[in-house]
Symmetry: C2
Subunit: 200 residues, 2 copies
């Protein structure tokens, strides 16, 4: 029987391998065999951790959520236009690490749309994200930097839409969407919504 | 040997079944077995049409592209702000038919990100779409309804981003994103970019 330390280390190896497969092939390419190959282990060993494909997908989702939550905590706690900008930049594929994360989430949308429990989870993630964006938007409205009559929730949906649609285009054409262009597009988006204020 | 007419009719049945499976389960859930069940046919019959999973995916993609191109042709040929608005509304899940189409394309992103040939095809689709949007944007710029110094290609990328990100949120929360809210968000987006003009 392996020592508990070995077991924990092995679990971490499994998680790292699951993440590598996800980042390279998405949820659609996530199989026990692919994870085993990534680890240089047998499929049999993997079935000890994941008796079913569903268990594997659930674990993959937990890793993705954990990594995303870690990232979310890096966004400045202060609110308003700068925090909104930081929160949007934070979901874009600007680095290899965030590109992998973006690719995993885009891939997860497919799996989630075909599974009621996963879809509910994704819907709740969106709600939490829009709530966080709304807080920044309300602060920007109080500061006169976003139009005050606009519904913060609707502006949050618009901002989330813009960021996620940019993620998808950038994933398919990384050379056409270098980090500086992605950042410029975010600034144009924020300037556009900000300029509505001048017309209030 | 069946008459050629039978063969064509059967091909249409197959295509309809492939579309139904795609709309319900996405590319991730597209299997010969699922299509066979949808048709009430044997998996053996299906292998006559699709000897490999890859052939099935290729056919599914052709159906999706054909249906999308038919839809694209419905957008008014005239250019400018109204055509831009129509082109954005056209990709949103506003009806059961366009919801199915949106769901299929979101699902396809996952498959395409894991396959170089499919990714190149998706990248080219995005380029063609941004070019079409750019033509409307240039006309709107000439009419003074969008900011003239802005790069039309970048505004097209921003508009495409906004629309696709809205698609994803609406697919996960159809009750929270009824058609009138989706249309209102498009109008807010266009008003925001249009109001940049006032600040030129």
């Amino acid at each position: 029987m392996p020592a508990p330390g070995d077991h924990d280390a092995r679990r971490r190896d499994v998680s790292v391998a699951v993440w590598s497969v996800l980042a390279a092939r998405g949820f659609g390419g996530l199989t026990l065999r692919a994870v085993a190959t990534e680890m240089g282990a047998s499929t049999g060993l993997l079935t000890h951790y994941f008796p079913t494909k569903r268990a594997l997908v659930r674990h993959a989702l937990e890793i993705a959520e954990e990594r995303t939550d870690e990232r979310d905590r890096r966004v400045p706690a202060d609110e308003g236009m700068e925090a909104l900008r930081a929160a949007l930049l934070d979901v874009l594929p600007l680095t290899p690490e965030t590109t992998a994360m973006s690719r995993v989430w885009v891939s997860f949308w497919d799996g989630a749309l075909g599974d009621d429990a996963l879809a509910a989870r994704q819907k709740a993630r969106y709600e939490r994200w829009r709530e966080r964006l709304s807080r920044h938007i309300e602060a920007a409205q109080r500061a006169g930097r976003l139009p005050a009559p606009a519904d913060p929730g609707e502006l949050a949906a618009a901002a989330a839409a813009f960021a996620h649609g940019l993620v998808v285009q950038a994933l398919f054409a990384p050379d056409d969407f270098p980090p500086d262009l992605q950042a410029r597009l975010v600034d144009t988006f924020l300037a556009a919504f900000g300029s509505l204020t001048a017309l209030d």
